[in-house]
Each structure stands twice: as structure tokens, then as C-alpha cells.
Amino acid sequence: MTHDEIVAAVNRVLVEEFELAAADIRPDARLRDDLGLDSLDAVDLVVSLEQTFGGRVAEGEARKVRTVGDVYALVQNTIADYASRTASSGS
């Protein structure tokens, strides 16, 4: 997936599932302080991302996410990691 495709897909999750205003979703927006997401939302965001993109988000990596931009990067890394593991397993 291209970076733009990842951005569009992540933003769609934030708007449709978390009912955030599209105008508020900027790469530097902080999930907790600017967008009002809490600990339960953080768990559910990971679940939604895994369902949307496949693969598994590493728990340690998820805990470091603070901004929307961090989410894009997390997805990018997760997809890359998933692709390389899938390729190396020969499937």
C-alpha cells in the first residue's frame, strides 16, 4: 500500500468508527489530548487496524503511539513486517 492509501484507510477508521470530524484529523493531532480518545479506544483502534490491514500490531509498538502520524507509521511498519514474514514463510 502507498502512504496515501494508508492515510486514507486510517482516517476512514477514525471518522467512521470513532466518529471524529475529518477536519480534526491531522498528522500532529494527539489521540488523547486533541481527539479525546481514551484507553478503551486505544485498544479498539488496534483491533480495527488489524482487521483493516491484516497482520498483528506489536503491543509494545502500539503503546508508543501518541499522534495520528504515529498511527500511520505504526500501520506502515506492521504491513511491512507482515509482508516480509508472509513472504519468508513461502505463503
Partner: protein, 417 residues
């Protein structure tokens, strides 16, 4: 003031200052009153249920259209399955109707007492379908448990309003709502809370229909206009319905001090169980409950003007209830069941039917039992209402019964000061 707001024994008088409703007959008090008058049915065909092997029931009474879940902000709504959403919407209307402000709601002097048969059946089904299908917990959202836990309705309503008083969640199937009202009544009567937001909620889910179908208690008719048929000689079982009834109960002292409008007074309540059989009610238990409620209210059977029956249209339940009612009241008091119109709304019915009774008391009529064309002789001995008629109801009784032999009776009186 003190003598007027308390009973002779010092207990607080308890009044209804707010009502909110989600039901197959409508989602506002005006529409529901009209539907009760007109005898309309909220029952419809559920074509999607035909896909479920072993389920013969194909009718249900879903909540009336027009609900807007979006009025509940997402941070509160995310932990609500359909039944908790019904409770939240009904509670919102009840609190607005009562005019309770945020300061009072959060003060610790207001509590919640709302029940349901279980956590959300829809959320439970999704949870287990996922778990059994994938043998994995991955993909399950954090809020799944919050929707499926048994006290989901009470907890969601408490958090929606910032309630810091007591939280009670009666889980007793068809008496969940009436026990919700009863527990609230007792809390206010004994001065433990100034006000309680109370009632019940439930979903019309195929699990509920199936539960009754398996034991031969669900109607297998396919004409939605002709079933259920409480007390009728041709009844063949219940139809599952859904919704929520929420009431605000307050001490008269508290209500009067803030100039609240009063809908009615609850003057007595009793609950007991039969201790005999899981699904077959016992006349002795139901009868004892009604007598206890009248004693609690200090009211004689001869002073009751209307009885709202539980009567779900099961062959055995209706006849046992009729016999118990006849033993206490004879045929002096008009009796009707709303379930011919709403189906059996399960955990919601005790609260919904308390609200229906208050509406009839306020508007001066008794709604007939819909589909009661030919009274079953086994349900004789009581005064059935087959045509809706004007009536002055000063004192009324609302009865409900549940699996496990649970019985409840709520005594209502028109508020006259």
C-alpha cells in the same frame, strides 16, 4: 409538610415524576397512549428468523421506528448493545420529563435501578460466534464485555448521567423491570436515596424466542395481527417484544421542594417467589404476592379499580394468573394485558406496563386485551376487558411474573396531594 410527605409509619411517600419509553407501540408517551387507546399491534413478521433451524416462532414486536442512537454521544454509546441503548434513550426522556438537573443527578442522592434478562443478546451472539468460529480472542473489541455484562443497562445509564448514588441491576428475566421499579421504590421510601432512575430493558432476539419455543411457550402463528392472544381460548404462546421503560421515582418531599410535576404515586410493592418450578407458575405464590402488595399499600382489594396483568398468552401462565387474581379480587376489578399489542418485552415489561398503567390512570381509560375474542374458561373468574373503555382509575395494580417463579406486584395511586 412532614406529615403530608410521610406515611404514618414515617416512611417517605414515593411519587413518579418522570417517564421515558422505547416500545413496539412508539417511543414517546403521546404516541403510546394513542396506541393503547386504539389497540394497535406492534407485532410483525421476522423473515430472517426463518433461517434458524429449530425455531418455529417467526414473529416479534421490535421497537417502533424513529430511534436516533446518535443523540447519545459515542463515548457513552460505544459500551451499549441495543438493550442498553433503549434504556439510555428512555432514561434520557424520563430525566428530561422529571426536570432533574445535572447537579442533582451527580449529587449522590440519586441512584439507578435498571434490569434486563441478561447482557445484550445481540452482543453475546456476536462475541461467541467470533470466539467459536475463530478459536481466538483477536478481533474482539474492549467494549464487547461492557455490552454483554448483566448490569450493562444500569451501568451505562449511571455513567451517562454521572450518577453517584446506588446502582442496582435486577436480573430476573420477565420481572427485571418491575423489580427495578420495586427496588427503587424501597430505596426512596426508606430515605436511602432522594430519587431513583428505574426500570428495565430488553431486545427481541431469536435467543429469547427460541428459549420459549423450545419449552412450547412461543406462538407459532404467522399472522402478526392475530397473536399473541392473552387469556384467549385459542392462544398458543407468547411473541417476544423489545424496548425499555424508565421511570423517575422521588420522595414526595424532594419532588414538592423543587416543584416537580407528579404523574402518580406508588403506594405499595411486593415481590416473592414460588419456590416450586422453573417455568410453571404457582397460584399460591402469585396470590400471596398480590395480597402482600395490598397490605404494604394499606389498601383493600375492594379499593382497586384496575389490574394490569402479566398475561403473556402462554396456555398455562395465563390460567394460573387468572385463578390467582380471581382468588384475591373476584370479578370486581377490570383486568387487561397489554401484551396482545406489545408482545412480551421481557426485562422491559414490568416497567413498560407500569408506565402504561400510569398513562391509563392519567387519561381515564382502560385499554382492552387485544386478540381476546373468546375468553378461555380456564381464565374465567375475573373481569376481562375486551373493549377499550373510559374509566376512572384511582388505584391500580401491575403484576408481573418470571421463570424461576418470581412474582412482583406494584400498587399505584393517582396523586391527589
Amino acid at each position: 409538610m412532614t406529615a403530608r410527605t410521610r406515611r404514618a409509619d414515617g416512611a417517605h411517600r414515593v411519587v413518579v415524576t418522570g417517564m421515558g419509553i422505547v416500545s413496539p407501540l412508539g417511543n414517546d408517551l403521546g404516541r403510546v397512549t394513542q396506541a393503547l387507546r386504539e389497540g394497535t399491534s406492534g407485532v410483525r413478521l421476522m423473515p430472517e428468523w426463518r433461517k434458524i433451524d429449530g425455531l418455529y416462532a417467526c414473529l416479534a414486536a421490535p421497537a417502533a421506528p424513529g430511534l436516533d442512537p446518535q443523540v447519545i454521544p459515542r463515548p457513552f454509546r460505544r459500551s451499549m448493545g441495543p438493550q442498553a441503548l433503549f434504556a439510555a434513550l428512555a432514561a434520557r426522556d424520563a430525566v428530561a420529563d422529571a426536570g432533574l438537573d445535572e447537579a442533582r443527578l451527580c449529587s449522590g442522592t440519586v441512584g439507578v435501578s435498571i434490569g434486563s434478562t441478561m447482557g445484550s443478546p445481540e452482543a453475546l451472539t456476536a462475541f461467541f460466534r467470533h470466539l467459536i468460529g475463530s478459536s481466538s480472542l483477536r478481533g474482539i473489541k474492549s467494549t464487547a464485555f461492557l455490552q454483554t455484562m448483566a448490569h450493562t443497562c444500569a451501568a451505562n445509564v449511571a455513567i451517562l448521567f454521572g450518577i453517584t448514588g446506588r446502582l442496582i441491576a435486577p436480573v430476573s428475566a420477565c420481572t427485571s423491570g418491575s423489580q427495578g421499579v420495586g427496588a427503587a421504590f424501597e430505596a426512596v421510601r426508606h430515605g436511602l436515596q432522594d430519587a431513583m432512575i428505574c426500570g428495565g430493558a430488553d431486545e427481541a432476539h431469536f435467543i429469547a424466542a427460541g428459549t420459549f419455543d423450545i419449552v412450547g411457550g412461543a406462538s407459532r402463528r404467522e399472522d402478526p395481527s392475530a397473536t399473541p392472544r392473552p387469556f384467549d381460548a385459542d392462544r398458543d404462546g407468547l411473541v417476544v417484544g423489545e424496548g425499555s421503560g424508565v421511570l423517575v421515582l422521588e420522595s414526595l418531599e424532594h419532588a414538592a421542594a423543587r416543584g416537580a410535576r407528579i404523574h402518580a404515586e406508588i403506594v405499595g410493592y411486593a415481590t416473592n417467589c414460588d419456590g416450586a418450578h422453573m417455568s410453571q407458575p404457582q397460584q399460591s405464590g402469585s396470590e400471596a404476592c398480590m395480597r402482600q402488595a395490598l397490605r404494604d399499600a394499606g389498601i383493600a382489594a375492594t379499593d382497586v379499580h384496575y389490574i394490569n396483568a402479566h398475561a403473556t398468552a402462554t396456555p398455562i401462565g395465563d390460567s394460573i394468573e387468572a385463578s390467582a387474581t380471581a382468588a384475591v379480587f373476584g370479578d370486581r376489578v377490570p383486568v387487561s394485558s397489554a401484551k396482545g399489542q406489545t408482545g412480551h418485552t421481557l426485562g422491559a415489561c414490568g416497567a413498560l406496563e407500569t408506565i402504561f398503567t400510569v398513562l391509563m390512570m392519567q387519561q381515564g381509560f382502560i385499554a382492552a386485551t387485544r386478540n381476546l375474542d373468546r375468553i378461555d374458561p380456564a381464565c374465567g373468574g375475573i373481569q376481562h376487558v375486551q373493549r377499550t373503555r373510559p374509566a376512572t382509575i384511582r388505584v391500580a395494580l401491575n403484576n408481573n411474573f418470571a421463570f424461576g417463579g418470581v412474582n412482583t406486584s406494584i400498587v399505584l395511586r393517582a396523586f391527589e396531594g
